[in-house]
Amino acid sequence: MIELEVVTPQRPLLKTLCDSVTLPGQEGEFQVLEGHVPLLAALKPGTLSYGDQKLMVAAGYAEVDPKHVSVLCEGAAWPHELDLKSEQGLLEQLEAKLLQVAAEDEHTLKEIQAQIESVTARIRVI
């Protein structure tokens, strides 16, 4: 068993024991079991799953040691807290916005892309 802890700036979300955790690493999805070597990994927006539970997490990072996984991310939500329709609406809005932004405005472009990424991650969880 390994202890999983998920913390966001707004609230500590979760602290539980589980067999394994799958995390959306920046360099690819990875799974953590008990006895994992110490690891500090950046996460991209995606799905965190453990047991039969799923959780949407925003960008952040995970700190892993043999008995403990702590995930610090800028936002997280349970699937039941999300609404598919409104998320899809948001995605469409963002995509429309993306088309309008001039290619040279790199900063805004990146920002919108990051938003799209996290919305897509949320949709995938639902």
Binding site: Q10, P12, L72
Partner: protein, 283 residues
């Protein structure tokens, strides 16, 4: 001596003020509870992030790497920016004036000033301080997103070498009845001193990149934490101020009531004397 009717009017108006201050006290108490809760809930994140950044920075330092731009001091830098965090609304005792006084003592002529909150903006502008930006509409509903936007802005101007240090002055939340004005250094970032021996981690991506990733978050978290604490302090200060105001109103009412009763008694006595005097004259 004031007439009966005048006193009655005054009692009525003080009673009205008392009702208002009492209601405001209740509202502040309810909001305080919520804000206090949020401060508590956000502590875990801030604490853990601080620890990780501290460990990572320490490791890189031990390896003899050049420190990250956000950790690096700008030696003999003179250009300082001060962020002044006040509330948007008044009626909260010395909450804002304490901050403003502290800020003015800290200020030197060539410092850049930005304000968060209307009260600080108005007061400093009145005193002729040049204000770079006023971030409005943030204090009432602090959000992590807004904190990270401001953090990104500050980071950019630090990296581009427009400022050499950034400080934040705000009310630290001690308890419901006490706040403390503190000045906190935001940039360069001062990570927590890590005492424990750093464990050999696998880093994904590299340590440098992770630190690049984490430091802006660290700054945003510090700002966010300050917003929450300031909001909780504000409600606490308002609650105390309104409690005092209610008590004062009660005192005024009781002294006015006494005066009213005396005046009434005097009027009755006077009338009686007149009647008796009249009856004696007839007899």
């Amino acid at each position: 001596m004031a007439s009966l009717r005048d006193i009655r009017k005054r009692i009525k108006s003080v009673k009205n003020s008392e009702k208002i201050t009492k209601a405001m006290k209740m509202v502040a108490a309810a909001k305080l509870k919520k804000a206090q809760d949020e401060v508590r809930k956000s502590k875990a994140y801030a604490h853990q992030l601080d620890a990780v950044v501290g460990r990572l920075a320490k490791r890189l330092e031990n390896q003899g790497e050049a420190p990250h731009p956000l950790l690096q001091l700008h030696p003999d830098g003179q250009r300082t920016e001060l962020l002044v965090l006040t509330s948007d609304r008044g009626l909260c005792g010395a909450f804002n004036s304490n901050i403003i006084r502290r800020a003015q003592r800290f200020l030197k002529p060539d410092m850049r000033v930005s304000t968060l909150g209307r009260k600080g903006y108005e007061a400093l502008k009145r005193d002729g301080v040049q204000i770079r930006t006023n971030y409005s509409g943030i204090i009432e509903h602090p959000s992590y997103l807004k904190a990270s936007q401001i953090a990104a802005e500050l980071t950019q101007s630090y990296v581009d070498d427009h400022v050499d240090a950034v400080y934040l002055v705000y009310n630290e939340f001690k308890s419901a009845i006490s706040q403390q004005v503190v000045i906190k250094q935001l940039l360069p970032i001062l990570p927590a001193e890590s005492v424990e021996d750093p464990v050999d981690y696998i880093y994904e991506p590299s340590q440098q990149e992770l630190l690049n990733h984490l430091l802006p978050k660290h700054l945003a978290t510090q700002l966010f934490q300050a917003f929450l604490e300031s909001l909780a302090s504000e409600h606490g200060a308002r609650m105390t101020a309104m409690d005092n105001a209610t008590r004062n109103a009660k005192e005024v009412i009781s002294s006015l009531t006494l005066q009213y009763n005396r005046a009434r008694q005097a009027a009755i006595t006077k009338e009686l004397m007149e009647i008796i005097g009249g009856a004696e004259a007839l007899a």
